[in-house]
Symmetry: none
Subunit: 230 residues, 4 copies
């Protein structure tokens, strides 16, 4: 990383109070609003704890390799009791994906609002998604990509509908880039970026030293918005 110095400087100048990251007070308020509007389950409710536990396990071991007994044990109930809260194992997966999508959407919307400069707004999107992928804010986000095909077509449609707005935010922000930023088509840029960011789940350690998440976000930004086009 021979040019990391100048990039770090850039980051410090632009995003003073946490690029794309929300203050923990905002974070909490956001969750509270989503819960009270019924968009996501209360994490402390039985259903919320069930979804949380399942999300953790699906992410770690995969949907197919996670047994309903594993999940029950994680929550502290017996396997039969799961089906009081959810019809199916698949419905559980679907519920996770829906809630994950809603939370990620709300977070990203909030994060963008705090930024005015298009580059900072895009950086905020990337940071939000990275935080989601690495479970810092939205537990279970990588499941959206890795376990997609475990969902029936019907359920895939449900999640896609929910996801549409999330993706349209991305497309809008990517559309604000100046010309000559590399991949011009926002749709294509988004897809390449989504793949790149999702895959960080398998190699990036957010707690590790060296490459921080902020640095990673800035580097990812460079793939669709090179430094030469500030």
């Amino acid at each position: 990383m021979n040019n990391s110095k100048q990039q770090q400087k850039g980051r410090v100048v632009r995003g003073m109070v946490g690029v794309g990251q929300l203050k923990s007070a905002d974070e909490a308020r956001l969750v509270r609003e989503l819960v009270s509007s019924g968009s996501i389950s209360d994490p402390s409710s039985p259903r919320g704890r069930l979804i949380g536990a399942a999300a953790r396990l699906f992410q770690d071991k995969g949907f197919a390799l996670t047994t309903v007994r594993d999940i029950a044990a994680e929550v502290g109930i017996l396997s039969g009791s799961i089906f009081h809260h959810v019809k199916n194992k698949e419905e559980l997966l679907c519920a996770i994906m829906l809630e994950v999508t809603r939370l990620a959407k709300a977070r990203m919307t909030a994060a963008i609002e705090q930024q005015t400069h298009p580059r900072d707004r895009l950086l905020a999107c990337i940071t939000c998604e990275l935080e989601a992928i690495h479970g810092l804010a939205v537990p279970g986000f990588p499941i959206l990509v890795t376990e997609w095909r475990c969902l029936s077509a019907e359920n895939q449609a449900k999640v896609l509908a929910e996801r549409e707005q999330y993706e349209s935010i991305w497309l809008q922000e990517l559309g604000q880039r100046p010309p000559d930023c590399g991949v011009a088509d926002p749709q294509l840029a988004r897809r390449l970026l989504l793949g790149a960011l999702s895959h960080t789940h398998s190699w990036f350690k957010p707690r590790g030293r060296g490459l921080t998440m902020k640095m990673l976000a800035e580097q990812a930004l460079l793939t669709v918005w090179p430094n030469s086009h500030h």
Copy 2:
């Protein structure tokens, strides 16, 4: 894709005889050599047909959701006969990953040799990997990413050892880029690129009209080597 025209022009000028793609005669010779050296199984042998069928199914339905009965049916034998050629379902996965890696490595080496300009060589790498991901040349390549965690630690180590050379080619080629190409660190650039390319498997249709694979390769190249730095 508002600036695709100028990019297409560039591509046509540089890589006249198929950027990164091998002639089918070369392709065949490559496979023959790998077979005769024992690196991969003869696709027409029982073991080769088994590996091929399993690769197809693992890619389509995932390792966990593919039963040995499915595989056997695909080959045209009974499920018990599978274990004549391979000890485990997991060993089958491992064998696929090893052979896929060897073939991809050989193809990429051959493709690079045909190019001299660093940018063309990197484009050849990307094209090779895209062709692999979309099953045009190396059936089963996406399994390497999607089913990685289904492998035991021991088998992961085996595949990693085999993969090392493949990745070092990437790092070397990425190291040939001029400064200011965005993500400077070759390792990081490779990881972001791998994620972006792998993910194309879930949305890009190579047979579809509009975005061709060549176009996709050039666009992917732009994420780590913008046009502004020819």
Copy 3:
């Protein structure tokens, strides 16, 4: 059996109300105590019925030739349900061996207590073991010998630990014999006797006429305590 008359006389004189055998009331109380202390499963509980059925089948057909389907059919459940109560087929075998050992130990202890003369006490041991071997009181006892090697080393250790006390009773009683009783070493005498008694399982019919179990016990006693040394 030309000298059986004098032996019968001896038996009648010494052990009038059933040499070494417990009254059925005592028998029932013993089982109840072991159940309530958790040493053995309640024979009427699901687990108890499972263990009982498996013991019967393992004894008749052998561990390896008994399928879990056989066992399930015997209990009246489906094969999959077995693994609700026990982790493994082998763990089932282990559980049987442990419970069999505990019951045999308790019975022998109770039987010995009722006798004072060393010869009668040893005869009580022999009778107890014969009753166990022939399923009159401790169903599944022969399994301890015949299926021993089907147990993993780990489980063998568990059973051995449980069996130690049972065997030490034998050694103690065999140590009470007068000199010149043939095999002097209690350990060796026990081993020869165990083999002799175990093997009766394959030829002695307790219900048959002619040789009764009492007679058999007295004859077995003679191998380690000849009549000439009263």
Copy 4:
């Protein structure tokens, strides 16, 4: 074993040149005769090596747990080739039992001929059987007891017919005992002895120090012929 000294003395006095044991020249001649008469297979012939290997494995792991592949590997052929020499896995077991019985019979006959005193003759029987059980002379003998029930009724009858003479030798020798030797009935004495001797397979180490096989044989003799009745 507090009286082992006097017993050892007794042994040395009576059976000077190996009680019950054959000289290795006699041993070899015996086998040669049996082979040439067709009673047993030539150990160096394909069938002989097959039977030998199977006997070893059946004895170590049990009939049910030994696969036909294990046997083939031991012989150095492939599993399919076994069925050129033998119709069934069970027929293989049956063949072993028949040959084992014939060899044991011949050995015991030869050993008895060398003794005149009834006690020595009986001791020779015991020693012969111990040698057989511990594989010193007749590999596979314990299988006769441990794997008996793996044989179909039909095959059991075949082996029983072959075994009859072997057992009648035992009965005859046990009938030569003086009165008051404990278990008077030769049939019963034989059965108890057979059990006791068979079981030594699971605890006696012929190579171990301390208790030698000769000592063990003498001790076993004491169970049916106490010292007090020389």
